[in-house]
């Protein structure tokens, strides 16, 4: 069976987002002067985290067995 492309996408962005959020929480505020005073690591990390988790959720949902009589959905990609 082909690997659902949502697994690698979800996994990659969940990890990257998580790393950025943690780094954003503990990093020095002075660093964010260049990004106009916004803690972009924290905020964009959250965006990536949510995106990654949504992708993973879709991938999990697609793995559930379908009620009989329904056409299987075509593979993504």
């Amino acid at each position: 069976m082909r690997l659902d492309v949502r697994w690698p996408i979800g996994g990659m962005f969940t990890i990257t987002g998580g790393l950025l959020v943690v780094y954003g929480l503990f990093s020095d505020r002075a660093m964010y002067e260049k990004s106009l005073g916004i803690n972009v690591n924290l905020w964009w990390g959250l965006v990536l985290l949510v995106f990654g988790l949504v992708m993973l959720a879709f991938a999990v949902r697609a793995m559930r067995p379908r009620p009989p009589g329904q056409d299987p959905r075509p593979p993504v990609v």
Partner: protein
């Protein structure tokens, strides 16, 4: 693309809204049936089925040259990035990027390439978006950017809106930074270059092979066109922001040897300016991903065209699969070495898109004329196609040899035939006109020669390869919103709207 956003302003969006999108709609509606129906594995193979071996060989050679230049240009961009980030010398950076791509291609196959492409797309979107948002906030939104770019425009001797209106200043070449008037742009870029590029794109043909049904094959380029509509916001806007801030605050872009800013570094400089460590890593990864996919795709295309269309057909037919696999690997290594040379020639251009379009104008311009005649006129003969294609490429060389862009030294940038008959205001204008001349040369020559030579293929042999001999597609049972035509109309409406909004 960002480099052009800085150099030419929002007119760069024509590459998407006038170029890519109508072309992809055309591919989906009209070309896909031939690719899918003929099961050709590459563009040269289609030419063999439709015409003959010599047409295929000629196209395979020019196509191979084109892929090398394309991958060399991506390699140059990647090496520039390493140079900037790691502080290595340009030579060392070139070697590093060559090695990375070599490993990347040897480890991956077609499947991994498709997965990678999807991943890279999201990476590019999510990596560049914070940069665009921060840049826009800093510059004061779209109105702030317009004000900054007005300074850029007046400094360059244009009307204040020349960088932020895509059509308004196209009445004359001297009124806009690209140096184009609307006719040359629509015909040169929209028609000859973009249709030539997208209709014969290697990936398009591969998708057609991988698709499960005719409708799926036709829908693929249409769906791919949807994100293309919004790409200008991600790839052109950063360039416009960079030049706007460069003009307002100075020192944003490094100045090259010719006294002009090096537009190619617009995105790397923006990344370094706005993103703190952490997110900076993501931005750089996104940038690397975009260059890597460009390079790997082209080297892979070179490898298969060389192995399959040139080596297996003309040099040593009838060998084992293992033999061809080895040849393919050797071709990959050779392709990368040749790309290194092409990367060094890219150092002569302050905007790599100019150079890329130059190569395309030689290869894709004439090819599209051959395809158009071959697919829609069954009277087109093999001799007509071959000599037409040859004439088109020679026309491109003659045109490029006899004209030059303003301020350029004769040589690699045109005018190498001694006499300069015409001077274009920009390199891009020269490219568009080269493509248009090449297209016309090929079209006229193919038409005339076809009329005076006899056909070598019967109607039966051309079934599925020529429009009038291909059975019409029946889609009556499909709900209207799933039909490719619906999708196509939607795309055209949105791109027209975008053109009007940024008029």
């Amino acid at each position: 693309m960002a480099a052009s956003g800085a150099k030419y302003g929002i007119m760069t969006s024509h590459f998407y809204w006038v170029g890519a999108m109508p072309a992809m709609v055309f591919v989906g509606l009209f070309m896909m049936p031939f690719y899918y129906g003929s099961r050709a594995r590459s563009v040269p193979e289609y030419l063999k089925l439709r015409f003959d071996e010599k047409t295929r060989a000629l196209n395979a050679i020019t196509f191979a040259v084109m892929t090398i230049f394309s991958s060399g240009i991506s390699m140059y961009a990647l090496a520039k990035l390493f140079e900037l980030v790691l502080g290595w010398s340009f030579h060392g950076s070139i070697v590093l990027s060559a090695v990375i791509v070599l490993i990347y291609i040897f480890l991956g196959g077609l499947t991994s390439a498709i997965y990678n492409e999807v991943l890279q797309f999201f990476l590019i979107v999510l990596g560049f978006l914070p940069l665009v948002l921060l840049g826009l906030k800093d510059v004061g939104g779209w109105s702030g950017l317009t004000a900054k770019l007005a300074t850029v425009a007046t400094n360059a001797g244009f009307e204040p809106g020349a960088w932020t209106h895509s059509w308004k200043y196209m009445d004359s070449p001297s009124h806009n930074p690209m140096g184009m008037e609307w006719f040359g742009l629509v015909m040169g870029l929209g028609f000859a270059l973009s249709f030539g590029y997208w209709c014969t794109d290697f990936l398009v043909v591969q998708r057609a092979m991988a698709a499960g049904s005719m409708t799926a094959a036709r829908r693929t380029p249409l769906i791919a066109a949807v994100p293309k509509m919004l790409m200008p916001a991600l790839v052109i806007l950063p360039g416009m922001l960079a030049i706007g801030l460069h003009a307002a605050r100075g020192g944003f872009l490094p100045i090259g040897a010719d006294g002009e800013p090096n537009y190619n570094l617009a995105i790397p400089m923006m990344l370094g300016h706005y993103l703190p460590s952490g997110l900076l890593g993501l931005g750089l990864t996104a940038l690397m991903a975009s260059f890597m996919s460009g390079m790997a795709g082209n080297v892979t295309a070179f490898n298969s065209v060389w192995t399959y269309d040139i080596y297996q057909t003309h040099i040593r037919p009838g060998q084992t699969d293992a033999h061809y696999l080895r040849v393919g690997h050797a071709a990959t290594v050779f392709g990368i070495i040749a790309s290194v040379l092409a990367a060094y020639s890219a150092t002569r251009f302050n905007n790599i898109l100019d150079m890329l379009q130059l190569v395309f104008s030689f290869v894709n311009g004439p090819l599209f004329a051959t395809f158009l005649l071959g697919m829609f006129w069954r009277r087109t003969t093999s001799h007509g196609a071959f000599y037409g294609l040859l004439t088109g490429t020679i026309t491109a060389a003659l045109h490029y040899g006899l004209t030059i862009s303003r301020g350029a030294v004769p040589g690699i940038k045109g005018g190498f035939l001694g006499a300069v008959l015409h001077t274009y205001p920009s390199e891009m204008a020269l490219n568009f006109w080269t493509a248009l001349f090449a297209w016309t040369g090929c079209f006229v020559a193919t038409l005339l020669i076809s009329l005076f030579t006899t056909r070598t293929k019967t109607d039966e042999e051309l079934r599925g390869l020529v429009y009038s001999l291909t059975p019409r597609i029946q889609e009556g049972s499909m709900p209207w919103y799933k039909r490719p035509v619906t999708l196509a109309v939607g795309i055209l409406v949105v791109s027209t709207l975008l053109n009007v909004i940024f008029w």
